[in-house]
Symmetry: C2
Subunit: 751 residues, 2 copies
Amino acid sequence: LRGQIAAVFEQVPQMNPVRLLATVMVLAAVLNSGFGGPALPHAIMPAPASYRAGEGRLEVDGAFSVFVEGHDDARLRAGLSRALRRWEARTGLTFARTDAANAAAAKLVIRCDGPGAAIPQLGDDESYHLAITSERAAVQAATVVGVLRSLETLLQMLDSDAAQTALPNGRVQARGETPGCFPGGGFFVPAAVIEDAPRFPWRGLMVDVCRHWQPMEVIKRTLDGMALVRLNVLHLHLTEDQGFRIESKTFPRLHTLGSDGHYFTQEEMREVIAYAAERGIRVVPEFDLPGHATSWLVGHPELGSQPGPYAIERRWGIFDPTLDPTNEAVYELLDGFLGEMEALFPDPYLHIGGDENNGKHWDANPRIQAFIKKHGLVNNAGLQAYFNRRVLAILARHGKRMVGWDEILHPDLPRDAVVHSWQGPKGLAAAARAGHATILSNGYYIDLSHPAWEHYLNDPLPADTTLTPTEQARVLGGEATMWAEWVTPETIDSRIWPRTAAIAERLWSPREVREVDDMYRRLDIVSLRLEELGLSLTRHVDPMLRRLAGDGANAFRLEELRTIADLVEPVKDYRRGGQQPDATQFTPLTGLVDCARPDSTDAREFSASVRARLFEGSAEDWARIMGWFVWWDRAADNLRQELSVSSPRVRALEPLFSRISEVCAVGSHAIGLLDSSEAPPGDWMAKAFADLDAAAVAFDACEIPIIPVVRLLVAAAGSQPERKTMTAEAWRAHVEALAQSAPAADERPAH
Amino acid sequence: LRGQIAAVFEQVPQMNPVRLLATVMVLAAVLNSGFGGPALPHAIMPAPASYRAGEGRLEVDGAFSVFVEGHDDARLRAGLSRALRRWEARTGLTFARTDAANAAAAKLVIRCDGPGAAIPQLGDDESYHLAITSERAAVQAATVVGVLRSLETLLQMLDSDAAQTALPNGRVQARGETPGCFPGGGFFVPAAVIEDAPRFPWRGLMVDVCRHWQPMEVIKRTLDGMALVRLNVLHLHLTEDQGFRIESKTFPRLHTLGSDGHYFTQEEMREVIAYAAERGIRVVPEFDLPGHATSWLVGHPELGSQPGPYAIERRWGIFDPTLDPTNEAVYELLDGFLGEMEALFPDPYLHIGGDENNGKHWDANPRIQAFIKKHGLVNNAGLQAYFNRRVLAILARHGKRMVGWDEILHPDLPRDAVVHSWQGPKGLAAAARAGHATILSNGYYIDLSHPAWEHYLNDPLPADTTLTPTEQARVLGGEATMWAEWVTPETIDSRIWPRTAAIAERLWSPREVREVDDMYRRLDIVSLRLEELGLSLTRHVDPMLRRLAGDGANAFRLEELRTIADLVEPVKDYRRGGQQPDATQFTPLTGLVDCARPDSTDAREFSASVRARLFEGSAEDWARIMGWFVWWDRAADNLRQELSVSSPRVRALEPLFSRISEVCAVGSHAIGLLDSSEAPPGDWMAKAFADLDAAAVAFDACEIPIIPVVRLLVAAAGSQPERKTMTAEAWRAHVEALAQSAPAADERPAH
């Protein structure tokens, strides 16, 4: 019969044995790949300030029980209940719903000193002490929020094994096995002592709900993810040229005419705030002023710097419509509106944006220019500073502290305004020196598709900071920013996560925790926890690919499309706008680029293998590395030959498939040369680099992230003669310089 | 190099070549499998009343535009906009946001006579006429809801191809290809004329939000799915022993004490009703009375038939707590509460449940028994009828018509009460004969894990009905019922869908549309559309399996676990309660059974292959069919040997893996005998049946659905001598009788 099976296999045209072998090989390579660098002794992310491993382990079984000492309240209980539900989901166990009789009888003892602020505030005490022995886990915290943070750490420490009892028949016997129900056992938390407190008090995520609307369920699951990685500020960017996303009862024309019906009611926003507070997260609203304000003017054109009419902006970029700072009606509306928002948002900080006002409508309005002259405001910047002072006075009357982007920094800006830096470390430093509290977002722009490690190494206060200790104390922390030109509710989780977890670690953990390989090791595990919470880091990808491929696709072709989607990355920075210049708010974001994720895991692992083999003495077989090329090339080639026939959208990707095949061909050739220690012909390297340059032209907003490392392979293959004449270090430097000599070009300039 | 690759492959222990081959073979078999029976000439589900294919096709490209003639309103526009968004997501095209200049310039012309009821009502005109030519699609409908139904049909008709232009290099050229943006083209709708109207006016889905809470996002996406398959009633089961899920402003103790905080605010319910109305769906609330009422009594113990106190019920089953019909305060509360609900729910129908009151608390209360005697009510049934009359009078005062389950049927029941039949066709017929309007749910209990075809063939008015035409007219339709003992927001979509689409077709399409194979063909396609809408038919499975397997699982082992999860099915009927007798509302539903789905596609395709090969002259190679066994057995065996070592929960499943291996061993042996035309030893068949009986004992609420067809294989293998002496038909009957002679036993009785 085995012969028959083999014969059937021979008849199956869909699967190429080489590709099958490559699959096996690639997967094996991934599974066997280690992680360089010193690893932390745990999987916790963000890493705690101090972790000391103990002896033994605390078993987690059906008898797990809790005792709460000291302060106890509904928020603590709700958090505890959510935490234990997650453990129940993972273990299949059901824990008791009533407390243990006393601390001695409990497996988890919580001692909390007091409630802390019911609505989280800047500077809340989030510290905790967590001691785990084989007897119990004991949490001590000053506030309920500290307890919540400790529970997230404890949840991340759950581990399992399944020490087996060999039976005579060679099978394994599950401990406590009972037919028809889950056996207990096998789950545990290792003994340890953890002292933890955040490095920065402001650890945020900004979500732009304007350019693409993000409904309640997105906000809630985002808050779930934030709580898991101990972020404590949700900054909601609520107004933009493309949408006014909060209900105003006083000025209903704002949201009814400025939103296409997609806005948060005040009732919903109260629900968001309560949901966040339950998780120890502040909600800071942003109302972008006086620019980025088209949507305000749709219902209130009389407040604009030009007569209007105005329509909701559908394109991306910087637009001209701006509030008229010389019009007293503007301040009346702001006073009423911000008063309403003061009552809605309990946080004392309120973000007024203030960025990217291009001043064109001011320039074009003689009355406004006359006002500048009359009041000695010098220029548009002076006018904006005047506007900011007026707004700040309104906010002060409503008991709010103003936050604004870099542009609000001006000698006249009162010291208690907070400067949010998106332009760079210089702005941050300047603001801190000028006496302002500051928050860093430059380097945390997760919408720009950079890899996690870049954000991770971006420190608000690096070791070589030139700020004085007093100035350093003004650096409150940072925020990841999820600008929403290119995300929908379907894809936003995969753009926020898992990279934001790396930023969360940067903002929570000690400066010294910065080992990239170990960060990725723990990031992969945190990703599983985030997906368990209901976030969609990858689960949306297969359904999206099925839609992209059309109903004619079979499982093989979908697997190939997945292979490509897992390889490519969205173009970085602002280049997607160049790739899709006609895109608007209505453009469907359901293409391959939307299925791809930034910071491709496959590309990262491949690159690590190549570098290790080339420079770090790895003994890995070249054939194993070659397997990746076989795998990617077969996928691209099969898609081009087969799924392209039934699917118009796959066929449209053919230039991308060709580029991938080209990269694989060049890379395979280089490996062949390296493997055989054969020197290439004289013009080979130049030709190979030129081919790679051609393949590096982005297509349909996708780029092929392995090109830099394939350039390394080419440079190495072409430098084999030099290898004999150089030290290993010199050769590596030579190869890297060679590989970088002709950087990959993009087809259009950034915008 | 290829040799090297092969050598690497040899070293990879994880993959067995046989399993690899089996994979290929199985997938190929699935892909090549045809569908028996006469197929409809389209993929529309529910099938329209009349479909005539035309000549040519309507191209769908970026120039697609719309013109609305006659009535036009916001609901129509919102529905149109949602529909076109879905086409945009599938095609990658962006359509114009403004109408065509006139009908002649439009690709889609909608002529609507009038708005219809703003809030959908029973008997609304949902009919439409849809004519598609190569010029345009033209919709005619009497109401906006008719237009919405036509758009769902039109959306389902989108097809694509990619007629290719061969280039000299052998590559294909995408029509309109432009680097950096999607090309248009390749999408079309085939020409056809469709006349459509539903067979029944009441086509519902009941969702129990009590036993396990289902939040807003579940309800909304369920409504999206319902609209896609033209269901028009969402019946919300809002109160139960396990939870009181609607806010009462008049009696806030009901929801605050009866719900654990999980209930719909009235504001949220208004949002649900509006969301449903936008999609032409009624919302009918159910408040189960006087039994199933524990949660009412938590806050109002004074209304119970026993003194209390009461606590929210956490277990499953039928419980004793019951409202006291002799207590006037009960009617006062109901009058106030139902008055409040009257204002909240616009639909004239209101469901009062009325089922499964066991009467024990009435029996135990002498005052209640004295009341029965005093008022000549004879017994508890008489008392419940008295209660129902009182409730009906309250409802009548509030302008509502009463709906109740079978048990409300009583000679005294006023004719205008609607009887909802859960017990069987007899009850339905009896109610219709007694003059009541009726709805069928017996046979549509999707919580019981039966396959789609069973529900599909269950006709409220089968061809052989004995009801008179007048009585038949009283059968309004039916409802699928999603009782929620075993579903969470994570799994509920996969329990409702896709089977409910088959029920939707039964209730919408002509009685004669009942070809099972063609239903499954179209169900597979509708499943893709449902998943595109954001429902999770299968996308939750991999994340759940990762959680089940634990962090030690690699991609191979997860694939194997997926293989098992795709094979097994949850036990049918009420047997899960027997399998998990200690389960409560708190039991995590994250086991393999929760990853498995009813009506396993793999099992269905395997069974079809076997039956075709045995009885229908299929020339399929036995090796191909054998491949399934190899595939399943290897997965089970590898999991038992490997993932079991690191994962306690996988190890706990070892008895299930053993049963699967046993079934595969028996089946493989039978195929070997059939393939070699060898007769087995005398006691082989009895032994094989016994082995299958042992394997048929459910484990951890999972059953192996291929056992019946493996019994067929065994019977066939054991009946090879008879084959020569019998006609094909006689042999088939012999084999089927033999296979059924010893039905598989379950380990515990149903409860």
